[in-house]
């Protein structure tokens, strides 16, 4: 295993995640003269946002599934240039499961990773500093039938389309809430899928209340309007202030029941209608990946990693950028990544960073954080979504724990938080470690979603866990 600390005086930054934030950070830090190792779980750079068709599919027009393609080309060119020059090492298919502090003070970090999708092998990378750009994942709230094959997360439908050029059916309903739904529906429609309905629980009036904050980003609003116009051309039905009540089918999805929401956020009785479909792409917003930061002891603000103006966490030597510090989209991730990369490089070289050097990025960051806060207040799941979770609805998909079992743990056994619910019912104890059911369990238990403490960011084979750190002692 290479030890950058011994190989010379050039300090070494490890960036975890090769999406927009990690790429911007890597390029910025390399430009400032530090050595960068970019560690990512995918086979290609880009993250979820710039996920592209597998090379074997030889897509000549990958940009057909993307916007901001020029931005991607600039990022990719920058990365390639620094990789060729030997300033950036890009480790693909490295699934980081833990970042470990190597003792106080200033002995740096060890980044532990599993190799490839099978995750049989292991790798360790030493770092003087780490920059967490681990992105986010989708939140999906449960409803009866949501485990049926054919029901996929909105981001999942998009990932399969962007990465493998494949869809799961011919007729889709796209549902939930959030800015992701429009591009997902538009992408599926462009790929030949009939969009039977786009079902958004947000109230259009809420957009009007936030019109000042939204109008401050005319480009973003135009982007949304463009998606809506394209969808209408595909004759898709847009149902605002509606929600999915149930997904129907036995072996796979056959239809969904859609209903209108009343002013209080409850399903309006009698408004239910059945929409035949073989695909339901559903999502209720995004959550930051914070496991690595949490294990390092970084302070979290709600569900996101806390950072200062330089994108530093409160743990010395650890920076964070992009969705992990709060959901805000790719443009915000680029700005934050750039700032984090500049700051980390300057401090690793023992100099005080000059915020003037990233003033433009800081302005973009301020604007886009305000914009995403406005979006957050507009896009919301139905206030009374838990009423749709019947007692026989599976809530924890891994352990097959029902809404009824969770309610019993709360009402009759006195569980007042997700951890106690987990101990009593096994909800959140399965393969995904509660990432899928966490928001639902918290909602049913009547508490705020708090990031659950996971010592490891992904399941780790016991043999690899037992050998971790051995390289230190050799």
């Amino acid at each position: 295993m290479t030890d950058p600390n011994r190989s010379g005086a050039v300090p070494h930054l490890v960036v975890i995640g090769a999406g927009p934030a990690g790429l911007a950070a890597s390029v910025a830090a390399a430009a400032c003269g530090v050595r960068v190792t970019l560690v990512d779980s995918a086979g290609e750079a880009g993250g979820q946002f710039y996920r592209r068709p597998a090379p074997g599919l030889r897509a000549r027009r990958p940009q057909a599934l993307h916007h901001q393609w020029r931005t991607w080309e600039r990022l990719k060119d920058g990365l390639d240039r620094y990789v060729r020059a030997g300033c950036v090492r890009h480790l693909t298919e490295h699934h980081v499961w833990c970042v470990e502090r190597r003792g106080e003070p200033d002995r740096g970090f060890t980044v532990h990773a599993l190799l490839g999708p099978e995750q049989e092998g292991a790798a360790e990378v030493r770092a003087d500093a780490v920059l967490l750009a681990t992105g986010g994942y989708e939140k999906v709230l449960p409803f009866p039938g949501w485990t049926l094959p054919g029901v996929v997360s909105a981001g999942g439908a998009q990932a399969m389309l962007k990465g493998a050029l494949v869809v799961s059916g011919r007729t889709a309903v796209v549902a939930g809430t959030g800015p992701l739904l429009l591009p997902v529906a538009t992408g599926l429609a462009a790929a030949g899928v009939e969009i039977a309905a786009l079902v958004e629980s947000a109230d259009p009036k809420a957009f009007v209340r936030q019109s000042r904050a939204l109008a401050a980003q005319p480009g973003k609003v135009a982007e949304g309007a463009g998606y809506a116009a394209r969808l209408l051309r595909h004759r898709a039905r847009l149902l605002a202030r509606h929600t999915i009540v149930e997904a129907h089918g036995t072996e796979r999805l056959e239809a969904v029941t859609v209903a209108a929401l009343d002013a209080s956020g409850r399903v309006r009785p009698g408004s239910e209608r059945r929409v035949p479909c073989d695909t339901l792409a559903v999502g209720h917003g995004m959550l930051p990946h914070t496991d690595l930061a949490d294990t390092l002891g970084c302070r979290l603000d709600g569900p996101a990693v806390h950072v200062d103006d330089e994108q530093r966490t409160d743990v010395p030597g650890v920076w964070a950028a992009g969705e992990t510090t709060g959901i805000g989209g790719s443009a915000l991730s680029l700005a934050e990544g750039h700032i984090a990369g500049c700051s980390a490089a300057a401090r690793l070289r023992g100099t005080e960073p000059d915020p003037g050097a990233w003033a433009a990025a800081a302005r973009v960051r301020a604007r886009l954080r305000a914009f995403s806060a406005a979006l957050d207040s507009v896009y919301a799941p139905p206030v009374h979504w838990t009423e749709q979770v019947t007692d026989d609805t599976v809530v924890c998909r891994c352990e097959e724990v029902t809404g009824g079992a969770i309610r019993e743990a709360v009402a009759e056994l006195g569980a007042g938080d997700p951890r106690t619910v987990k101990l009593l019912t096994r909800a959140g104890m399965g393969w995904c470690q509660g990432r899928m059911c966490g928001p639902a369990v918290a909602g049913l238990a009547g508490c705020e979603l708090a990031p659950s403490r996971r010592p490891f960011a992904r399941p780790v084979p016991l043999g690899i866990l037992a050998r971790a750190g051995e390289m230190d002692h050799q």
Binding site: L57, V167, G192, C398, M436
Partner: protein, 100 residues
């Protein structure tokens, strides 16, 4: 009707063959297990441990572990992450994926 492959003007090399249980499936180069099965019209390939209910892709990015499948006798592989090679043997998975 336009297909995703046409949309991105994909010109993949020749398809190869894998098996799903006892049937043969044609796979385009570069596709994962999940993508190949979707392309073949298959949306579920696992039954759950408790209720024996069918499952397939949910998150599509390796987070949810719903799409677990047995590939070349190794159970509990995430179909959405594992790329296929010619001759691979995919088996639908029941319960834990282990013989118990």
């Amino acid at each position: 009707m336009r297909t995703p492959l046409e949309l991105a003007d994909a010109q993949p090399g020749p398809a190869f063959t894998v098996t799903l249980d006892d049937r043969e499936i044609e796979v385009l180069p570069g596709r994962t297990v999940a993508a190949a099965l979707w392309a073949a019209g298959v949306t579920s390939w696992r039954s759950t441990r408790g209720q024996g209910r069918p499952r397939g892709v949910f998150c599509g990015i390796g987070i949810c572990f719903d799409c677990l499948v047995t590939v070349n006798d190794r159970p509990n592989q995430r179909a959405c992450l594992v790329p296929l090679r010619p001759g691979d043997a995919i088996r639908t998975q029941e319960g834990t994926g282990h013989d118990d």
